[in-house]
């Protein structure tokens, strides 16, 4: 290669390209850019060696530091758990009845546990615990499975009709759709149920409905219709309704049945968290206890 022409002013070599008398200088990339490029390559090689980087034929390059994001998050979660165990120390105790009897806990922990409630329970039972159509009110003091601390804890831990081997099971059968009662009998039973809760009803149908009730409904709801804690059958004589207490609502419940689901929280929440929520429900729920 011949010696190339140089720019007379700067002394830089020219590329030899020329357009209409304008010649192009062959200036190198600025040294800072070149340096940064090589430095970044060096850094990437360094990190490539230090950290997990590349799948291999069996397994992957683990890196010289042996770093693992999964190990790190496991440690962080463990630490958080330890911190919470300290911050919520009383709830490490498994004696839920003693916890429920401690009047000092609500003022101290109520607000913090409210966050736990909001994140997990409020979607169904609402932020104010008052429930909504299909999801029970937790504040009215009317319980399906009793309001004792142990039973509330059981419901939270194992759920109702949930995907857990120890879950509570309760089902209102589809007496109409399932062919156990004909439509007339359903209507009679509905009138009788209306009479139980002191609502306006057709007296004649209700008298006939009494027989239907004793035959088909009393096994779960009791002869007096007051329900029971053993099988979670609701009290039909009060003014509290999960699925509505109007004639049409009750008809739908009797005809098509009901099977509400409370998810099982074991596994999703820690034991201590389940105890906290149990108390939270009791603190807010026993104001109107009967």
């Amino acid at each position: 290669m011949a010696v190339r022409e140089k720019d007379p002013v700067s002394g830089t070599e020219l590329t030899g390209h020329e357009w209409d008398g304008i010649k192009e200088m062959d200036s190198p990339v600025p040294w800072a850019s070149r340096w940064a490029l090589w430095a970044s390559i060096a850094v990437s090689v360094l990190f490539w060696l230090l950290y997990p980087s590349f799948p291999l034929v069996t397994g992957y390059a683990k890196g010289l530091l042996g770093y693992s994001t999964r190990a790190e998050v496991a440690a962080a979660v463990d630490q958080a758990e330890a911190e919470r165990a300290q911050a919520f120390a009383p709830f490490q105790s498994e004696d839920i009845a003693a916890l429920a009897a401690d009047p000092a806990l609500e003022a101290r922990y109520g607000q913090a546990i409210g966050k736990l409630y909001a994140d997990n329970c409020a979607a169904c039972h609402t932020a104010g615990l008052t429930g909504q159509a299909g999801f029970p009110d937790l504040t009215d003091g009317h319980w399906l499975w009793s309001g004792s601390p142990e039973e509330v804890e059981y419901s939270i831990r194992y759920g109702i009709n949930a995907a857990h081997d120890d879950t509570r099971s309760a089902q209102m059968l589809a007496f109409g759709a399932g062919g156990m009662l004909d439509k007339v009998q359903v209507r009679q039973a509905v009138e009788y149920v209306l009479s139980l809760s002191g609502q306006a009803h057709d007296a004649e149908l209700a008298v006939a409905g009494r027989g239907v009730f004793e035959e088909s409904c009393a096994a779960c709801h009791g002869d007096d219709g007051r329900g029971g804690y053993e099988n979670g059958a609701p009290d039909l004589g009060d003014d509290r309704w999960i699925y509505g207490g109007s004639r049409g609502d009750i008809y739908r419940s009797v005809y098509y049945g009901r099977m509400g689901v409370m998810p099982a929280w074991e596994g999703r929440l820690s034991d201590a968290e389940i105890r906290m929520l149990t108390l939270y429900v009791l603190w807010n729920g026993n104001d109107a206890a009967d």
Binding site: V73, M262, P263
Partner: protein, 243 residues
Amino acid sequence: MSTQHQKLERNSIGFALAILLVASIGGIVEIAPLFTIENTVEEVEGMRPYTPLELAGRDIYVREGCYACHSQMIRTLRSDVERYGHYSLAAESMYDHPFQWGSKRTGPDLARIGGKYSDAWHVAHLEAPRELVEGSVMPGYAFLSDTRLATGHLPAALKALSRAGVPYTEAQIENAEKDAVWQADFEQNFEGELQESYGAKVQVRDFDGQPGRLTEMDALVAYLQMLGTLAELDTLDPEESSR
């Protein structure tokens, strides 16, 4: 400048080969790891292909763009794990084509939503989100409850996935339509058959609260209730799964 390079520039075949060589480095770095991808998928028990009904629900999930606001990827961060549960595993999306990891959380992550709420809640919430969650910006999907689920394409859908590597059996492909109907059967008459075919964790029941009607709501709720429930995380070998 190097005279070597000038020589190369003037040799068109040689220069083309040199370009190919340099460009292929980028390709190799991106593609070669895929040949050994199995090595990066943890071994965990419980993972199975989607049942036809869940798959139909998943297709509705994709069709309605749920991924635009909901991720299905619990990251290895304390905040994620504390809120949503065990971080997601590669194994948990190994039958996903395409995966639904997502990159935006306008709504919460759904990777472990299965079992957190009841079917009735999901149906009511999908129909009218603000009736249950104050201030929610989620659109309503009430039409899902009124739309019958199309099942005719399910055998073909399973077959396509099996070609992409999802281990569906011939019988599963053949029975796809029937299995979809059976899984939402309110009398749960065929629970045994489905569990034999797809494993003990198949959830068989009427999902949408309309017994005897197979709707898109059935499929979507069946899919949501399955999310994150398959992998038996306690069978995970911590040594083997560290990343």
